[in-house]
């Protein structure tokens, strides 16, 4: 891999990965003249000359490029199409940046050998199960149940009035809205990669006249925020449903201010419990952990929070846990959440894995027993959540 740093224009970087035949441009490229980017153009020309077949131009982390640079880079690409008719060129964009897909896409009208692909179209494996339609009400109820605990826990992990904070993978944005109301941060941005969840969040904010939360579409593994911006970065119940959680943690570390904290919550779903019918409940949640693992999601991640944060470079790591139970508030809320879990997990997910009817019947029974325990006058039902935060070293 070859990299060319730019002394006069540090905001951007180019590099060529010969094993993937991929030339990447990232950052902000705004030269006054083409002369300033000659080393990059030379590297691109040499990279194209050194490969055959498909050549990839990766601009998914390219936030800005002025027309001087755009013309120089793309003209080189168009020339290469004419000189190398045996090759095809794929420009990899991100839907987050907002302008690259359309602007680079016009090149295919000049040269059909140039094609544009948005890399993040199907990026989050768990998202499709959880974001659509029916699951949204239960997400609201879940947040209501966990908030009773977290509103007391958060101050121990860096939450205080007047901070700037980011909630990554904010989902339907209700946690950010509650934080805004309770802790009054100076600025709060809430980022998610689900358009439908963000649309819902913005509608709720408008309906309830919630001001001051910026709901932003973005890719948690490659955010468009600058380094060292936020006093507190939160990510709740999301690292566990991402197949590469370390990528998100690395980004959270990057955008956190030195001395600021990153706060995460995750579950160990196999430890959901209840009585009566404890054995049936235990079996179902053991199987639920395996079901998520089948789709490359680690719903057992909670107790690993501390390990992940330390590996990511944080110090002063603090970890604790809390148990959401049927005794916290209205037991029916707890029951509604479990019913939604059953509908989604023993429905669409189990079906997609190809589970037998016998398995699904037993699988569903555990959820129903959990609901029974939650609503039983002498019953007890619990859902444990693990919390941890780490400080970015000064």
């Amino acid at each position: 891999m070859t990299a060319v740093p730019f002394t006069n224009s540090p905001p951007f970087k180019v590099q060529f990965d010969s094993s993937n035949q991929e030339f990447a441009i990232s950052g902000s490229v705004r030269p006054r003249s083409v002369d300033e980017i000659v080393p990059s153009l030379t590297l691109l020309r040499e990279a194209i000359d050194s490969v055959s077949g498909v050549f990839y131009l990766n601009v998914r982390r390219l936030s800005q490029m002025n027309n001087t640079a755009f013309h120089a880079f793309t003209h080189l690409l168009v020339d290469a199409c004419q000189a190398r008719p045996d090759m095809s060129f794929v420009v990899i964009t991100s839907s987050v940046v907002g302008w690259t897909t359309q602007k680079f896409g016009r090149l295919s009208r000049i040269e059909p050998a140039i094609r544009v692909e948005e890399y993040d179209a199907d990026f989050y494996p768990g998202q499709s199960f959880l974001e659509e339609g029916g699951f949204i009400p239960v997400l609201r109820t879940q947040t209501k149940m966990t908030w009773r605990h977290e509103c007391n826990i958060l101050p121990r992990h860096g939450m205080r009035e007047g901070i700037t904070m980011a909630d990554i993978c904010c989902g339907i944005g209700d946690f950010a809205a509650l934080v805004q109301k309770e802790f009054k941060p100076a600025r709060i941005v809430a980022l998610d990669h689900s358009r439908s969840s963000l649309a819902y969040a913005r509608q709720v904010a408008a309906d309830f006249n919630i001001r001051g939360v910026e709901y932003i579409y973005g890719d948690a593994s490659e955010m468009m925020f600058e380094d060292n911006q936020f006093d507190l970065v939160t990510c709740r119940h999301s690292l566990q449903i991402f197949d590469r959680p370390t990528l998100i943690l690395r980004e959270m570390y990057r955008i956190c201010k030195p001395g600021g904290r990153v706060y995460i919550t995750n579950e160990k779903i196999s430890q959901c419990l209840g009585e009566p019918h404890g054995e049936s409940i235990e079996w179902t949640y053991d199987e639920l952990a395996k079901l998520f693992a089948h789709f490359k999601m680690d719903l057992e991640m909670g107790p690993k929070n501390r390990h992940y944060l330390m590996d990511a470079g944080f110090d002063d790591v603090r970890a604790e846990s809390f148990m959401v139970t049927n005794l916290d508030g209205d037991p029916q809320d707890f029951a509604d959440v479990i019913q939604a879990w059953e509908d989604t997990f023993a429905g669409e997910m189990s079906n997609k894995r190809g589970d037998s009817p016998e398995f699904v019947e037993r699988f569903r029974r555990g959820f129903q027993d959990h609901i029974f325990a939650a609503l039983h006058p002498k019953g007890y039902a619990g859902w444990p959540v693990w919390v941890a935060s780490g400080r970015k070293p000064l």
């Binding site: 027309n67 168009v78 940046v97 302008w99 009208r109 963000l198 649309a199 910026e214 468009m224």
Partner: protein, 178 residues
């Protein structure tokens, strides 16, 4: 001496002023990075109450930077430079007031006239822009303005005054979300 800039009073009645920067043209032209700094700063400053503030700031910064670069390249060192952003609903208006030579003034008028003529004929502006991409020479003033029309559905106006000119660009970016 305070800078002298000409602002359109009628426009100010319609559009709510958000932020304005005035400086001597000599100062503005002293460093190329002013274009980047000013566009980034202003775009972020006016982004916070847009539905997707990061997307909005990125797009506005991109468009504003091109306009500032056009202004920078006029090479006229005298007079004053003004840059303002005002808003009406989903439209953000960028007004750049600056001094330029007579030939440059005619060039701006020609470019804007061409855009306005092309806008009448559907697709003509975009065809012009696509064609300009494959040219050997780098982007000219007309291409830069064409790109704003094609990429951002901008409306462009050019006003002349005794000692300065004003480029007015309306960008309908405010309602954008992903």
């Amino acid at each position: 001496m305070p800078p002298k800039t000409a602002h359109n009073n009628l426009a100010e009645l319609d559009f709510r002023m958000m932020v304005q920067i005035d400086m001597e043209m000599t100062t503005f032209n002293s460093n190329w990075t002013h274009c980047d700094y000013i566009s980034t700063y202003l775009a972020r400053t006016v982004s916070h109450n847009r539905p997707d503030s990061v997307l909005f700031a990125n797009l506005l910064s991109s468009a504003l930077n091109e306009l500032l670069e056009i202004t920078f390249r006029t090479r006229h060192s005298g007079g004053t430079f003004g840059c303002s952003v005002s808003r009406r609903n989903h439209v953000d208006r960028i007004e750049l007031t600056f001094t330029c030579g007579e030939d440059e003034r005619r060039s701006f008028e020609h470019a804007v006239t061409r855009i306005q003529a092309g806008a009448v004929e559907a697709g003509a502006v975009e065809a012009d822009y696509i064609s300009s991409l494959s040219r050997e020479v780098g982007p000219g003033r007309d291409m830069l303005l064409l790109e704003l029309v094609v990429s951002y559905k901008a409306q462009v106006r050019f006003d002349t005054y005794d000692d300065s000119v004003k480029l007015v660009v309306d960008l309908p970016l405010g309602g954008l979300t992903h």
